[in-house]
Subunit: 111 residues, 2 copies
Amino acid sequence: MNETFIHKWQSQVKKGTLSFILLTLLKGKEMYGYEIMEYVLKHIAIDIAEGTLYPLLNRLKTDGLIDSKWVEQPSGIPRKYYTLTSEGSIALEEMKKIWEHLYESIKKISK
Amino acid sequence: MNETFIHKWQSQVKKGTLSFILLTLLKGKEMYGYEIMEYVLKHIAIDIAEGTLYPLLNRLKTDGLIDSKWVEQPSGIPRKYYTLTSEGSIALEEMKKIWEHLYESIKKISK
DNA sequence: ACACAATATATAGTTATACTATGTATTTTC
DNA sequence: GAAAATACATAGTATAACTATATATTGTGT
């Protein structure tokens, strides 16, 4: 019932949370785009499209939160590896606080 | 430091969470627009503008998730009270599941 | 050998939703 | 009697996810 609304809603929730997820992932280790996509699909069960991920990574780089370097492979297409910058690390901490506060606030009003 | 990014991010996070918050509030009791705005500002510390709230309430009504009725006041401007429909109640439960799952998933990857 | 799937990155155009600014009207406060 | 608070509303803009498409290499199946 009202699957369209839920579907649209879910896509709206991604706005914001996706960048938060990417920065969180890159805090742990450097990763390349395709790897991030597969990881998010498997472990977070969020349907992330290529047309969403790559522009997002570019935006985060433009904003100075992440950095990238091409890495040639012994076989196959070169990969673009992303790392969190110190600026990105600071932003991530800030986002974490806001995210936690939002979650707790909603939890409070939902009972 | 990168306040612009955090600021923009925070506004993006609202896309999706705001409708979730409104439905959650209206599950508890019927409320009118201005009341919702004040409540969210005080208790959830989310900067919600009138130009965001009223169109959002109209969207939720168009989608059949909430209903509204005008209530004349003994003094002052009439208030438009909103209530959660049964459809809205079902949608809210679905959203809750997705929201909880998202939160837990992010928690897992953040350590 | 050839087609198709998987790997890997990228962009153009569309859609949905929050933000800014503005407008209307009534009541309360200084 | 002027300003602030209450109460609702809309038009135009900006942001970011989605769809579709493109390029190129490697692996798999027949």
